[in-house]
Amino acid sequence: MSQLVHPLEKFVRPGMESRIWCSGCSNGIVLNEFLRAVDELGLDTSKMVLVSGIGCAGRASGYVDMDGFHATHGRAIPVAVGIKVAKPELNVVVISGDGDLFSIGGNHFLHAARRNVGIKVICINNFNYGMTGGQAGPTTPMGAFLTTTPYGNIENPLNLVQLAAAVGATYVARWTAFHVGRIKNSIKKALMKKGFAFIEVVGICPEQYGRRQKMPRPMDMMMWFKKSSVISRELDPSKAEFTQERIVVGEFVDVERPEYTELIRGQINSIIEKLEKEGKATDVEI
């Protein structure tokens, strides 16, 4: 009798028996979508590196049978930049959370996008620091109750799509965990993109976020996303509204700009060519 094997089983890292993700967490949905995208594109996974930071989503890099690096809190992007710049032929992907990428690691996001380093960043936005037990973060909605906002959050949340667009990402999309299939299609696009690509997936966190906002069951947050999300058909980040009542999803940026590692290689090649032509070891005074 033939054994039934999950079609994505081949992507699971041998020896990783257990996952830390809670029941009802949508991190698995996003990871599935990522792996389906890789599978459908037929990418050589030995030429892919998955980098992540700290937090629930940050564990993704350990679960997949690719080269992976689990960095310090907030530092997935600069590690990924180092890998990409050193070996531009690799497809370097960052999967991490909203706190990791946009609070402690916010500065790195701005500059990697500005430089247009050809890494792909997938942010699972679950509105809170889940692993440490549900603290407020940079995307926590106004008024939300978390362990560090016991009287309601009074800070304005970041709009990740508009931020990414403003700092120069060449591909920007937002979906929620409800939009299975569309997430995958966006990841496929991002993986084939030359420049810096960013995808926000609004995620379900029933344990730490939902239950404190009167949405205790996983389906409660899913129904919220289903009810509130509106698909934008325009490549216009100004339309990327994000409120409790209205979450605009879709693709918001899809442009081409010169990619960083190609620019570096271009400079290196012309400098070496000039030296060789002139028969010199250096043009620099020591």
Partner: protein
């Protein structure tokens, strides 16, 4: 024609000699952030790195610099960053990450006066203890303290060799005085420069355990993109590289190995230079720029018939415990000279068995004069 080893004699800056040393050592990735008095290393790398086919990247801060250096090291390049006190402070967390993930890399710290922004343009030796203990957790580190422009070149190569050999971060702890010193530099022929490369796995990729050490406690290192499909994490991990964060045995075994791989090879790493120590009654201990004043003072003392000697620390970490212990048994007095309030002094006190120890601190960016040290040698205080 070699573009990475520019054989010849030069009159140049310590920071530039450091950058040339890195290139000669095979460094092909530099990430940094401008900071006085280390900026010249970055500026020289920005000009020179493309000439040797390597990458210079100016990152958004020092945290990003060290993080990208770790990434580049895992992608297979010899990589380096250069900074000074404030930037070194920012790097501490990822120094721990480099220790834990056993990433070979070099960090140059051209030391200025602190705490905080302190004295950006003046020299100091105030980061010596931070270099050893700055990141959290138990770890061993390798640090060289150059005292001349030539040593900025030579010891940067040594730092690369040690980082590659032991799979750990290695530091060049230069003081500003040496970083900004201009004097003679001789770059040797390429064949005269001994280079060490990290140990690489020979096994089938599917059999590879990224943190399984050989007899020498050092695991062979695969690079990303070579088909090994391995994982590295700052979490406590087993030999497969997989997180095992609540198993006391896994944690103890890992941390002990990370320490032991340096401690067991300490004799191979440690370098000291001795001047007139064979019959000395008084031993001056110094490193970096101060060792030059100390050498002058010891020579002046000898001219006056005083049996003084010098122990110059070329490596400050690992600390030469045995050397200092042996010296303390043979001399009557030890004089420690440092441009700080007493950092290596504590190590000397720890190793001392019999001698009286006196200390000459120096703050503000001034170097000890030979006369000051001579007066301490004569004074007997």
């Amino acid at each position: 024609m070699r573009r990475d080893v520019l054989t010849g004699s030069y009159f140049t800056l310590g920071d530039i000699a450091c950058a040339e040393g890195a290139l000669a050592a095979g460094c092909r990735f530099f990430a940094g952030y401008p900071i006085t008095p280390a900026t010249e290393v970055a500026e020289h790398m920005a000009r020179r790195m493309p000439e040797v086919g390597g990458v210079y990247i100016q990152m958004e801060d020092e945290i990003a610099s060290i993080a990208s250096v770790i990434g580049a090291s895992y992608a297979g390049l010899k990589a380096m960053t250069a900074t000074s006190g404030p930037g070194f402070s920012l790097m501490q967390e990822n120094i721990g990450l480099a220790v834990m993930t056993e990433a070979p890399l070099v960090i140059v710290n051209v030391m200025r006066g602190g705490p905080s922004t302190g004295q950006p343009t003046r020299g100091g030796q105030q980061d010596v203890m931070q270099a050893k203990w700055g990141s959290h957790g138990d770890y061993e580190i390798i640090a060289f303290a150059p005292s001349s422009v030539q040593e900025m070149f030579d010891l940067t190569i040594e730092a690369f060799n040690c980082s590659e050999r032991f799979r750990c971060p290695a530091f060049v702890l230069a003081d500003e005085n040496v970083g900004h010193l201009r004097e003679k530099l001789v770059i040797p022929e390429p064949h005269e420069i001994k280079l060490v490369e990290r140990k690489r796995p020979k096994c089938d990729p599917r059999e590879y355990s990224p943190f399984k050490p050989d007899e020498d406690l050092i695991p062979p290192m695969a690079h990303f993109g070579e088909g090994f499909r391995f994982y590295a994490t700052g979490l406590t991990h087993n030999e497969r590289g997989l997180p095992r964060t609540v198993d006391p045995e896994v944690h103890a075994k890992l941390v002990r190995r990370l320490n032991e791989k340096i401690r067991r090879h300490a004799r191979e790493i440690i370098r000291v230079e001795k001047l007139y120590l064979d019959d000395a009654d008084v031993c001056v201990i110094a490193y970096g720029i101060v060792s030059r004043s100390a050498a002058s003072a010891v020579r002046l003392a000898r001219e006056k018939g005083i049996k003084a000697g010098l122990l110059k620390l070329v490596t400050v970490w690992p600390f030469p415990n045995e050397e200092v212990l042996r010296i303390s048994e043979g001399v009557k007095r030890i004089i420690v000279c440092e441009m700080n309030e007493g950092q290596i002094l504590r190590e000397v006190e720890r190793c001392n068995k019999c001698s009286r120890i006196s200390f000459i601190p120096k703050l503000g960016g001034e170097i000890h004069t030979p006369r000051e040290i001579l007066s301490a040698i004569k004074g007997g205080s």
